[in-house]
Amino acid sequence: MPAMSSVLANKSTRVILIAVVAIALVVAPLILPAFTNQTLVRIGVYAVAVLGLNIVMGYTGQVNLGQIFFVGLGAYVTAYGVNHDWNIILVFVAACVVPGLVGLLVALAAARLGGLAIAMVTIALPIVGVPLAKRLDEFTGGSQGTSARFTDAPDWSGLYNDQWQFYIVLLVTAAAFLLGRSLVRGKYGRAFGVVRENEAVAASMGISPYRTKVLAFTVASIFGGASGFLYLAAVQYTSPETLSFGHSISLVAAMVIGGAGSIAGALIGGAYYVFVPQLTNAIDPNLTTISQGAILLVVLFLLPQGLVSLPRVVRRLFRRRTSRSSLPGNPPQNSPVHQPATDAAREGLEKTERQDRS
């Protein structure tokens, strides 16, 4: 059967591809120049933050404009732990758990408010976070920020610092992506998707929209914290500037540009976050904001599903040219969103959400 053999071929090419990428990633830092290693490290740092954002926003459809707050919180917790000589594993766990708990609390309150109210609450996070970081100077070092060196290569490794940092970031990023990928692929991934598209249907499947939103938000906060840990591993310094609102918006842009609702898109988003400012700076440092906006618009206009959809779009264009689609049945004219019955059911759901609160 041709279909079967193509599936097998697909599977073995995939295994080979993964092996090649894995080997390349392990060997790369040993041969690449330090600057390239540092760039790749920063991609890993932001890819993890974008991954978390993608889970709550791309997959679950809950606007979150405060992801950078959790990145900053993770970075501060890391700095605090390192400067108090905590074990590095403990530091990492705390850098994930503390933002996770804060995210959980925020989500428990915010997910009760429908739609845009969640967005407003998340906007408040970095806006409150910056002055808070300045005030709590005992923990944060105030406006000057705080530094923590814990990722210098140990002597036994024989590595340079940039190489050592590369491996730390690679380890955490790979783990985060594997976990995130598994989460969005099964039971909970489907729950995220249906909560995004139709809460009334979600509820009729036994899925609580409220709990699902809280879960997605918490997961995003944990990944944000992990990203903050990696940020400190790479930059070794953090200040209130780290969690400024502008960076949060850039994370959202990176998520959408990479591809909302796509794990690979999160990685591309991380790369976008790092490369585009470099690129626009190289073009003209005075026009960075404008040229970043222009790039954003062009990509979204050409690829509304983000850069990750490029191969799919190219393939579809190619297929459309070679043969007209011959699928059975007609595409439905009715999108459920515009149907009165579903709208009515949605109204009903708001009542349900209120019910949930008790």
Partner: protein, 260 residues
């Protein structure tokens, strides 16, 4: 175990609009029950009350003896309730298989952490439910569509996918809202066979809202006729079709007089 359903004095108002008034009837376990009535009679609203999407202003609704009035709808799936929507509400970008798999949500074990870690028991459960969903689709003659985005299917097939999605949860009480609307004659025949097969194979109570009287006559053991939010009569499909009040409700008083 097929569930029973009991409604007592269900009232539903939206502002001043009385959508349901004092609706009372019982559905015995294992029957196929019809809910009919003219457009706007309140059939879908009644389904929404049973499934928890609407909160009745007063009355009582019990599923197998458990009061569900006031429960959040997501809790009712665990009582064995499943439903379809009058306007199919599928995830158009997800595949047909993924859509059907949603119905398996409550049957899958494990917490988010165990799924993120892909613990063996979650992977096994996922394989099992996928095999079951594929089996359902194959038996329905929809195996070819499993991997296609749901948006590429016809309207008639959407209704089918919704039905299989609901059935994957192994419901004890299944609510079908106009499952035959927009289906061709052949598809309606096929649907009737499917429902008969489902009833023969599993212990389930089914309530069908439908305007297609042929389908109601062919499938239901008993019907309730709603009109303007009130129960007009209850009986067999044949009794309903020959009931003067029902004919009047459907075609208007003048026309009923002319026909007489």
């Amino acid at each position: 175990m097929a569930a029973s359903l009991s409604l007592k004095g269900v009232d539903l108002h939206f502002g001043g609009v009385k959508v349901l008034q004092d609706v009372t009837f019982d559905v015995e376990p294992g029957v196929i029950f019809g809910l009919v009535g003219p457009n706007g009679a309140g059939k879908t609203s009644l389904f929404n009350c049973i499934s928890g999407h609407y909160k009745p202003n007063s009355g009582s609704i019990t599923i197998s003896g458990t009061e569900v009035l006031g429960s959040a709808p997501y809790r009712l799936a665990r009582l064995g309730l499943a439903r379809t929507f009058q306007q199919p509400a599928l995830q158009l970008h997800a595949t047909v298989l993924e859509n059907v798999l949603l119905g398996g949500h409550i049957r899958l074990p494990g917490w988010p952490v165990s799924w993120a870690l892909r613990l063996p028991y979650t992977a096994r459960a996922e394989r099992g439910i996928r095999a079951e969903a594929l089996e359902l689709l194959n038996r329905a003659g929809l195996g070819w569509a499993a991997g296609l985005p749901a948006g590429e299917l016809s309207h008639g097939l959407h209704k089918g996918v919704e039905l299989w999605r609901a059935l994957l949860s192994k419901p004890a009480l299944l609510l079908l809202d106009e499952p035959a609307a927009g289906l061709s004659h052949g598809e309606v025949e096929q649907f009737i066979k499917t429902v008969r097969r489902i009833r023969a194979e599993q212990d389930i109570t089914i309530i069908i809202v439908e305007h297609h009287m042929g389908l109601i006559s062919a499938l239901t053991d008993r019907v309730v006729v709603l009109d303007h939010g009130r129960k007009l009569m209850e009986g067999t499909a044949a009794e309903a079709q020959s009931d003067a009040r029902v004919i009047e409700a459907y075609i208007g008083k003048d026309a009923a007089d002319d026909a007489a």
